[in-house]
Symmetry: C2
């Protein structure tokens, strides 16, 4: 009788969960997000993250309380570039569909090529080589480019070529990115979003931001400064990338996590 | 031959997706997040949301570009209270486990009781009544309290009793919340997080913030100013609630979405 009641309780708990919630119960979560603090990496010309203490301690009411205010550029740390960042009239941060930001994860690993060329551009050949080994990129995929640079974060000089701030530092930026043709290939696959473990989807020396423009004119957002992806498989993960919902925003802070099912 | 290749392509696309990604392919996403703008609701004493234009238009390089900076209190709009907001030494915003913020959704609807008592406190009886009808709340559930007030947002006077700002306005706050005993009942169920469609998990007249303290001393975060839940079933949804990763933060902007499977 005890066993029978236990069975009913378990059945009832399982019935209360959707298939998605059940599939998340196994496997593990990997947080692909760098925290926001005074070390957070920003473009050399962007306003950095500031946090001010409002209150921290015991209140006259007898309970503990802590609260802070903060300021930031939309584009810094782990963040989303909304399509309107580089395409007039394209989707702002609050209007990128959720269905585009949650989907099957595809990780294209180019760390070996970046090791010998810091300004390496991921192109169609890298994408096709990945597809040959792991299958065609599915529609709605969230494609993450692993350059292996996440482990250098937040050392700005190592991570992006310079720790200097201001306009004159932009010419000193060096890090890998996605080529214009690579961006066009991903657009043709009907992906939901593309992410990279560098400060920008265009590489450091870019002057025309051609990958941004190619993606964003097709309403594909870019996810930048993604944290270490080394625990992610080339395919089979689920990526959830939810940005702060800034009305009319050109982007904003992003929380991005991956679920990797049990082997 | 063509049909056979098509079959292989479909099979290959399905194999590339995890069970979770596949289960999200059907059903629909509901965004439970209010946007951040100049109308965003804050506590009468908190710093409101401000957005400044950095650039908006055609650049000398020939491409369009838009970017903004923003400032905010951690606690405003749709946001998370991290446990350290009301419990010394408890988890800050960046350290609340992702596994606690993604899970089966349970919606307890008390809108009928709130209709006749704006300061209604959701208590153990409401929770037990819900369980009698829909089964026991599973461990790790994200329990959302639907008071029906989300549709009044962002009209501060209707939504929370006053549109005044400053310390003297706090005494004029009126909206429903969770009782201390209700919070203790949810802690006993081993839930991951609790959310509500009002500015605070304690009701408007609260002076001791007993629900906050009861939840947060057990490292349970509260999700506040959740948007309209009327399309969510009492159980069977999957809730994904990802906050901005502010290091040491007492909370912060939250993006919360629900997946409702096809019937």
């Amino acid at each position: 009788m005890i066993l029978a009641s236990f069975g009913v309780a378990v059945l009832s708990a399982v019935l209360a969960m959707s298939a998605a919630a059940q599939s998340f119960a196994g496997g593990k979560w990997i947080d692909l997000t760098h925290p926001f603090d005074s070390d957070t990496i920003y473009w050399p010309t962007a306003k950095t993250f500031e946090k001010q203490t409002v209150f921290e301690g015991r209140t006259p009411g007898g309970y503990f309380y802590s609260a802070y205010n903060f300021c930031s550029a939309e584009h810094g740390g782990t963040h989303m570039d909304a399509p309107v960042h580089f395409a007039e009239g394209a989707l702002p941060a609050d209007r990128v569909p959720v269905s585009q930001l949650i989907g099957p994860g595809v990780v294209i690993d180019v760390a070996d090529r970046v090791a010998t060329d810091v300004d390496y551009l991921v192109g169609p050949a890298d994408i096709e080589q990945h597809e040959k080994a792991h299958g065609r990129i599915p529609r709605g995929a969230i494609v993450l480019l692993r350059t292996g640079r996440a482990t250098l974060y937040p050392d700005a000089e190592k991570y992006m070529g310079t720790a200097e701030r201001g306009e004159q530092a932009v010419a000193k930026l060096h890090f890998p990115g996605l080529s214009k043709e690579g961006a066009e290939t991903l657009v043709a696959r009907g992906i939901g979003a593309v992410g990279i473990d560098t400060p920008s989807i265009d590489h450091g020396p870019s002057k025309d931001f051609a990958a941004h423009v190619a993606l964003m004119t097709h309403n594909i957002p870019a996810l930048e400064n993604i944290a270490d992806m080394s625990e992610l498989p080339p395919r089979g993960s689920t990526i959830i990338a939810l940005p702060m919902k800034i009305k009319g925003g050109s982007g904003g802070p992003l929380r991005i996590v991956a679920h990797v099912p049990s082997p």
